[in-house]
Amino acid sequence: MTITDVSTAARLGGSKGPGQDASASSATREAGSPSPSKGTLFRFATAGSVDDGKSTLVGRLLHDAKAILADQLDQVQAVSRQRGFAHGDFDFALLTDGLRAEREQGITIDVAYRYFATDRRSFILADCPGHVQYTRNMVTGSATADAVVVLVDARNGIVEQTRRHLAVVSLLRVPHVIIAVNKIDLIGFDEDGFRDIEREALAVADQLGLRDAHVLPVSALEGDNIVERSERTPWYDGDTLIGLLETRPGADESDAATSPLRLPVQLVLRPQGGLSPEVRSPERYRDFRGFAGRIASGQVAVGDRVEVFPGGHTTIVTGILVAGERAEAAVATQSVAVTLAHQLDVARGAVIVAAGTLPAGRREAVVELFQLDAREVIAGSKVLAKHGTATVQALIVEVLDRRDLETLAHEPAAVLAVNEIGRVRLRFAADLPLVPYTTDRAGGSLVLIHPGDGATLAAATVVD
């Protein structure tokens, strides 16, 4: 292995950025580091094809955010040296490839989660491998992501894999996409080269219906436009990668809070006889019936009128516990328990919604199905469908079509194989309060489970 292979090897502390000395002992964290109690949480995924420098980018982000500590660097440096890297050079992939098989084969098998923080935000990074089972990994990493960073090699521009990644991002309705044109140094920081790729990337994003797309030139290896604006791309006046990630609205702070209330009930808390010894006034909780769940969207306050699915009974919220403590109001995505004015039959699988917004119960739906299991999807098979806190039996009525993952065009298909995406008609054994995924990610998503061995077969989003 040679260190000129920049996709896997990187010289820490290139021409830019802090921590320029490659020796591990120089890695420092400054006093007054970010406090997680103030900043918000932002989840993003990284995706790219083979050799576009994703490991280097992830390593660079973690390094420049000082999320890689001295002993981790020591360990990576020691293993890098065993593998013939020159002193001071690192195989950044060793930081992210956590499994023995990954390190031995030099491939990334599974999504890895990384954590770092800046003064403004805490980040959860889902690092999605690009080549093996990319659909499965992309779906896993992107399903809850606020943003996806897709890497493009400046020398190659938009390739088939880029279009596929962007297609999955689009189908999963990830709110923000950042297309990082990497290795900009290898095309001599050429503006025309960048603008060509930018034009094509934005055209693809537009075609796929991606609402908020940003394209920026970076060098993950050298640090250009990662944390600090690069003087070598004076023609680029947009934000750095970190700057973009810090300023995109997160799911927890935008639409989820302003939509109508939807609270899927996980379980009913009825502690009669089993009160916590810490409760000081047990008499207050003698008849306590709390409906516990995590608010999927909207907000709730004591005195609010709500309806309960199924049944549609209207009642009033009489009390709220947020994480076990009394509160006057709560908002998505807090975990709460609410008490209601009327004795209603509310069990796991029920959904408490704002009055007047009761969803229709659905026995049938067309879903976009992301096949994750090696077994094919065929009409007539029975599965379990999990939606919110409800799990019901479901039947695959028919496979309607398959997506061409470059254009998202539909093509005829009778079965869906692993890593394929297509539309399927499902029938359910009980009413489900389904809403289109385009209006509500939580209300429009399902997982399909094998009723025999329990394997997770597929992810599905409600189309209609």
């Binding site: 810490e278 006057e328 329990g454």
Partner: protein
């Protein structure tokens, strides 16, 4: 009437809500959950979140301690006090019993962390537990970075990292066959700094050795080791009195202290934010055995 504006949730609020959601899902879907509780800060945090999840009711499952026998006495005292305060049932699986009757052999290096796996699996089988909560976090170790929140174990307790279920949205799949069980990690997405910031915010009690105190220690493998029954200096190792604290609490024979004057949670938060070494790198001799030490232990059924 809904209140018109509520500030965006902080990262800690979101992590708290996520953990409580996970704990409630498992209680709703499983028959006999149990929580691994050592008195260490991560398991204390999970227990605190469980208490929050079911308030005003009590935590609806027992706790299990896999006791290496190499304990800090103040941690055992804290464990017992916590169990009493919350009205819980404590199950204890003792490594010492296995060594006494020959089912396990003491390792040449004297470390008992890897010996916990067999007593743990037996306790899970004996209690017929189908879900086992643990305080492991993905930021602790690169094998743990690949772990699921709900992670399937076969009848031998083995983790198969190459064949993990994809985990989508907040829809956790806990289906399992008889004999299988799941491990559940509600604080997967917390960092060490998150844990300490939350402990400070919520004023969660911890064993006193997490805070600066004076102790007789000696230097080994670049760490300060406490002098104790199972942790004696060898020839040439000088015993000194130092002001130290522990960043992790495990088998006393392989857990090191760090020099620190952080006497309360706020000072620990500041110290962790400045630290240049990970908590396991600073304090766990067993994770230095090989690059894949944690992965290998996990595959065998360790937590």
């Amino acid at each position: 009437m809904s209140t018109p504006t509520i500030d965006p949730l902080s990262a800690l609020d979101v992590l708290e809500a996520e953990a409580i959601h996970i704990i409630r899902e498992v209680v709703a879907e499983f028959e006999r959950p149990v929580l691994l509780f050592s008195g260490g800060k991560d398991s204390v945090l999970v227990l605190h979140l469980a208490a929050r999840a079911f308030a005003p009711g009590r935590v609806p499952f027992p706790v299990l301690h896999v006791d290496t026998g190499h304990n800090f006495p103040e941690v055992i005292a804290f464990r017992d006090e916590t169990v009493r305060r919350l009205g819980l049932r404590l199950e204890v699986a003792r490594v010492q019993d296995y060594i006494d009757d020959g089912r396990l052999a003491e390792r040449p290096d004297g470390t008992r962390n890897p010996l916990q796996t067999q007593p743990l699996l037996d306790a899970i089988a004996y209690g017929r537990h189908d879900a086992v909560f643990g305080g492991a976090r993905r930021d602790e170790d690169k094998a743990r970075a690949k772990e699921r929140i709900i992670s399937l174990r076969d009848e031998f307790g083995q983790w198969d990292p190459r064949n993990q279920r994809p985990e989508l949205w907040s829809l956790y799949n806990g289906r399992h066959l008889p004999g299988q069980h799941v491990r559940v990690f509600p604080i997967s997405n917390w960092t060490e700094l998150d844990v300490w910031s939350y402990i400070e915010r919520e004023r969660i009690p911890l064993p006193p050795l997490y805070f600066a105190h004076e102790r007789e220690v000696f230097r080994r493998d670049g760490m300060w080791r406490a002098v104790g029954e199972v942790s004696q200096p060898r020839a040439g190792e000088q015993v000194e009195r130092r002001v130290v604290r522990y960043r992790t609490v495990g088998d006393m024979s392989c857990t090191g202290a760090v020099e620190s004057d952080a006497a309360d949670a706020a000072s620990v938060v500041a110290e962790v934010a400045r630290s240049t070494i990970t908590e396991r790198g600073a304090t766990r001799a067993d994770d230095r055995i090989s690059e894949a030490a944690m992965e290998d232990r996990k595959k065998d059924g360790y937590f």
